[in-house]
């Protein structure tokens, strides 16, 4: 009923369907109506993570280890939670730099290093081979089992068949053909394979449906629901032990942790995951849905793993049936041919999906990062001069696909038989985990260098080979048993499974521990020991700061010249003339330039544009070599570039400092303006001072000079006139003397040259003396003076001569301004909290409020146009103020126009001042 023909036909029909879907999706994409521009398709396509390993292997693992299969799915679920940080960055970087593969990504980060790209490719290919062999094994064994329907017999060793009868070999060839059809029908600059993605999404649905179908069948068909199934399993002691989480896993906790970490890294760095998550992503926002859809898928496909495993163990209690085959053998045992066929298709689907995407990703890497850089460097091939390289590129890729699948087959033949599916897969996981330090480090640490990355990868990979690959070879009989048992040359410390004596761990944990220590150690150590080159610095900042940068394009530091025609030719060679025209047209349109017909300024940006387009075709490392050959890139001195970089990073700091400086300058200039104003004011005051002094000096001089001339020249002047003139001369001379005294006094006070003879002075006596001294003046002008000072001593500490000068000045002012005959002047003394106050009150014309402050200034006098009273020098009150202030007191006037004035000053009491001095 299920003859080989039927199975093969069904398989081909299914593959044909996948191809049809892919073809349809490609056509739709060409028409601009993409079927994969949906977050659901994107999320489903990510489920390529679930391969034949999941489909068959999880049950096998569960059958031996219980829940030990889970870390492989917990890891991705955890990882996807931090995708928003990690994957968004990787997506942004890849889109901006037209990254075409994982190798390209890592190489780009470290200065577009061709060596690094090649190394990553080699590691990826070698590391993934076991994984591919796993798929081949799964397909061929599932076929072998199914073809014996309804008998259940485990497939015999594959080695027994001749090559042409070996189903695995056939599977490899068929898959190679399909992969070529899917992935290399044409070249796309962005390395997008929309058809493939659509087919993978469909494939993910098929395998899920098939697995769920078996799960439902086992749980509800063979048993009466999960409750009954687990209850029955619990009766078997061996199975009950498995239900305890972590119990069945070798190395227990450490193993769980390491498997989880390993699969966290695998979901990022498996070439096929990178291809679908990053390269094929059409819209960054699709990530948002995938972040919960993908874990949901993982949950769904793992839901029935334990029920099937327990069902299988209960159904085949003798252990003759391999756990890896339970999914298929259970339906067969129950004579459900259609379900069995569906399972086979599901498994085929899971394996095919993985193989197609993986090999396409690897072939891109092999072509762009391994073969082309070498070919381009071989001058003999003259590739630089060939007009069209598309044929060559496609040829290389197709060859790579076939080669990879054949190598996978070879590994299967050599080592595959010795391991369970999951163990084979984990070896590959461990290999790609070696990319994690350089890739993740490159995303978040600018200090990583190309040499560090190379060293890290080489060391990590070497440890991987030593601790995982070589033991696998040993188990296949390729290496002597002693190599693993006793260590090479009998050195126990170098035993591959217990390096440096570290035993007791499972193989994977042991390998991961040592390889990551070697990898991270070398990467960080070598990076720190050296310093990044120009290219590395540029790329580091492009990668690490990608989310901070608003303008894409790494053209900042490119410095060179290139002819746009040359660049066009270069692009045409790889993409074909039409595509090159499109690219240049788009660039010109974006820049508002004319093309064709005008020479585009081959600015750094255009070169960059060509480079990213080229990167789409041949990878960025190769593209760089090619473009550099056309664009005569001027080698920048490292120091020069370092300066550039320093400048760029210091711009912010500078601008902050500049702002601060400009604020300081503003403040300084404001100060200067103010100072200038003060100087101008001082200058004006000085002019005023000079003018006033000369006026005040020359006026009496005029009288003196003129009257003396008259007296000497005119003998006939009447005697009474003569006497009058002499009196004037005398008076003016006195006035002059007084003025000169005042000016000198002022100069002394201002220069601080006054000798103060401080003493305890009885203010009452002093006031009485002053009034007595002025009495003649008051009498002359008919002014009444009253002195209200009370009795007894009131001591102040002052220079008595200076203090009396103040009082006399105030008195004479009062006398001057009082109307002759009607004037009244009162002198009063009052005790205050901090000393004594003297008031000199007159009934003169009073002083305007606006003048009350200025009269104490130098040469400032109240303007009195009404009264026209005799004016003084304008120095008297100023000198009074200086004296009073020096003595520690205060002088002021209170007055209203027409109501007389009251000049007051205070002097601190003698005790008060003494107390202060003591303190």
């Amino acid at each position: 009923m299920l003859s080989g023909t039927v199975i093969v036909l069904a398989a081909f029909a299914y593959l044909g369907l996948l191809f049809a879907i892919a073809y349809y999706a490609d056509k739709r994409a060409d028409a601009g109506r993409s079927v994969i521009a949906s977050p659901y398709v994107y999320s489903l396509s990510l489920a390529v993570y679930a391969t034949a390993w999941t489909f068959y292997g999880s049950v096998g693992r569960a059958a031996s280890d219980g829940v030990g299969f889970l870390p492989i799915y917990i890891g991705p679920t955890l990882m996807i939670a931090v995708w928003w940080v990690v994957m968004r960055k990787m997506l942004r970087i890849s889109k901006q730099n037209r990254i075409t593969s994982l190798a390209d990504f890592i190489a780009s980060r470290y200065g577009k290093s061709a060596a690094l790209a090649g190394l990553v490719t080699v590691i990826a290919v070698i590391g993934i081979l076991p994984y591919i062999s796993l798929q081949l094994k799964a397909i061929s064994s599932s076929y072998s089992i199914l073809v014996h329907y309804p008998q259940i017999s485990m497939p015999a060793s594959a080695g027994g068949h001749p090559l042409w009868q070996d189903s695995a070999f056939a599977v490899a060839l068929i898959l190679a053909a399909f992969t070529i059809a899917f992935g290399t029908r044409h070249l796309d600059a962005a390395e997008h394979h929309q058809g493939m993605v659509a087919a993978i999404a469909f494939e993910s649905l098929v395998k899920l449906v098939a697995f769920l179908a078996v799960g439902v069948f086992v749980t509800f068909g063979l048993f009466d629901g999960p409750g009954a199934l687990f209850a029955q399993a619990a009766t078997v002691p061996k199975l009950r032990a498995m239900m305890t989480p972590l119990a069945g896993v070798a190395g227990s906790y450490a193993s769980w942790v390491w498997l989880t970490v390993l699969s966290m890294l695998a979901i990022l760095f498996l070439p096929r995951q990178f291809q679908l998550t990053v390269i094929e992503n059409l819209d960054e926002r699709h990530l948002n849905k995938a972040i919960w859809l993908f874990p949901a898928y993982m949950l769904a496909i793992n839901l029935f793993v334990l029920p099937i495993a327990f069902g299988g163990l209960l159904h085949f209690p003798d252990g003759a049936v391999d756990g890896d085959t339970f999914v298929l053998t259970l339906p067969m045992a129950e004579h459900k041919p259609l379900l069995a066929l569906l399972v086979f298709i599901g498994g085929l689907s899971a394996a095919t999906g993985m193989v197609i995407v993986e090999t396409i990703a690897l072939s891109t890497m092999v072509c762009n990062d391994l073969v082309m850089p070498v070919l381009l460097r071989l001058r003999a091939l003259r590739l630089n001069e060939r007009r069209d390289l598309t044929g060559l590129l496609l040829g290389i890729r197709r060859g790579a696909i076939v080669l990879i699948l054949l190598l996978g087959y070879l590994y299967f033949k050599l080592a595959g038989e010795a391991y369970a599916l999951v163990s084979i897969g984990l070896v590959s996981f461990a290999a790609v985990a070696q990319f994690a330090p350089v890739a993740l480090g490159g995303l978040f640490w600018k200090g990583g260098t190309r040499n560090g990355a190379l060293a890290g990868l080489v060391c990590g990979f070497a440890v991987w080979v030593y601790t995982l690959l070589l033991p696998a070879f040993e188990r296949s009989g390729w290496l002597p048993v002693a190599f693993v048992e006793q260590g090479p040359f009998g050195i126990a410390l170098l035993k591959p499974l217990a390096l440096f004596g570290l035993g007791g761990l499972d193989e994977i944990t042991h390998a991961m521990l040592w390889s990551l220590i070697a990898n991270v150690g070398a990467y960080v150590g070598i990076s720190l020991a050296g310093s990044p080159t120009l290219n590395e610095r540029r790329q580091a900042s492009l990668f690490v700061d990608v989310l901070r940068r608003s303008n894409p394009g790494g053209t900042k530091f490119w410095c060179g010249t290139a002819s746009s025609t040359e660049l066009h030719g270069l692009l045409a060679r790889f993409l074909g003339g039409e595509a090159a025209d499109d690219a240049f047209g788009a660039y010109a349109a974006r820049k508002g330039l004319r093309w064709p017909g005008g020479e585009l300024a081959a600015a750094a940006e255009l070169v960059h544009e060509v480079e990213v387009h080229r990167a789409g075709a041949i990878g960025s490392a190769s593209a760089r070599v090619m473009v550099a050959s056309v664009a005569k890139e001027e080698a920048l001195e490292v120091d020069e570039v370092r300066e550039l970089l320093d400048e760029a990073s210091q711009v912010v700091a500078y601008s902050v400092r500049l702002e601060q400086k400009s604020r300081e300058l503003e403040a300084a200039s404001a100060e200067l303006r103010a100072a200038n104003e003060r100087l101008k004011e001082l200058d004006r005051l000085k002019d005023d001072f000079v003018a006033t002094v000369t006026h005040e000096l020359r006026t009496p001089l005029t009288s003196i000079r003129a009257f003396s001339q008259i007296l000497s020249d005119s003998p006939d002047v009447a005697p009474e006139q003569r006497a009058r003139f002499v009196a004037i001369i005398t008076k003016e001379t006195e006035r002059l003397t007084r003025l000169i005294d005042q000016v000198l006094d002022l100069a002394k006070i201002e220069a601080g040259n006054v000798e103060w003879r401080m003493a305890a002075v009885d203010l009452r006596t002093l006031l009485s003396e002053a009034v007595a001294g002025m009495s003649r003046v008051f009498e002359e002008r008919g002014i009444q003076v009253s002195l209200q000072v009370g009795q007894g001593e009131l001591l102040v500490r002052a220079d008595p001569d200076r203090l009396i000068q103040v009082v006399v000045n105030l008195l004479s002012n009062a006398a001057k301004f009082c109307a002759p005959g009607r004037g009244r002047v009162e002198v009063a003394l009052a005790e205050e909290a901090r000393g004594l106050r003297v008031d000199v009150r007159d009934n003169g014309p009073g002083i305007d409020v606006r003048d009350q402050e200025i009269i104490f200034d130098k040469f400032r006098q109240a303007r009195d146009s009404v009264a026209g009273q005799p004016q003084g020098s304008g120095l008297g009150l100023y000198i009074c103020r200086r004296i009073v202030e020096h003595l520690g007191g205060r002088i002021w006037v209170s007055s209203r126009r027409g109501e007389g004035s009251c000049f007051s000053f205070t002097v601190p009491g003698a005790q008060e001042l003494a107390g202060q001095e003591a303190a």
């Binding site: 001089l701 003129a706 303007r863 009195d864």
Partner: protein, 218 residues
Amino acid sequence: MQPPGAGDSGGLPTAYVVEDDESIRTLWRWLMESNGIAVRTFETAAEFIRQYKPGAPGCLVLDLRLPGMSGVELQAYLRQNALEIPIVFVTAHGDVRTAVAAIQDGAFDFIEKPFSYRQAVSVVRKAFDRDAENRQRQARRADATARFATLTERERAVLRCVIAGKMNKLIADELAISIKTVEAHRSKLMEKMGVDSVAALVQMTVGFSLMDAPVTRA
């Protein structure tokens, strides 16, 4: 001590002295009187403004620094009120700049303290002369303007041609009258303007800008 008739426009030229210093006022009074010059002194500018009769002949001796209204402010006040009187500023050395500005604003002269009495007398005399000239000129202008107003329309036309230096023949052609009529007009207008030569006629007409002034017919 004040001379009689001071302040009358027809009276003696008087030296009006505004000076806040009493001794200097005494000095001025003595200097002027002993040289036979009428003098009046004022302590402030306001006092002068109150008492000065507009048009009185003489000169103003003005101290730059005065309490209240300053000398310069008084000068501006007089100009604004079209009171023409020569001003002699009295200044101390530090005020020279102000004094020069005052001269540029039309002051007659300035003397610096301390001045000699001869200097003071002489500058006042010169200011008087200027005042007299001003008055004479004023009077002549008034006379010429009055005379000009008596000219007929035709006589003014002939006058315009004469000033332009045209011969009688040309004037006759231009005004379409006979030469004889032109000659008659000429002698009539010379008589009316009170001049006996063409030169004097031209000087008077142009000097006082009679032709430009608005015509006011008598």
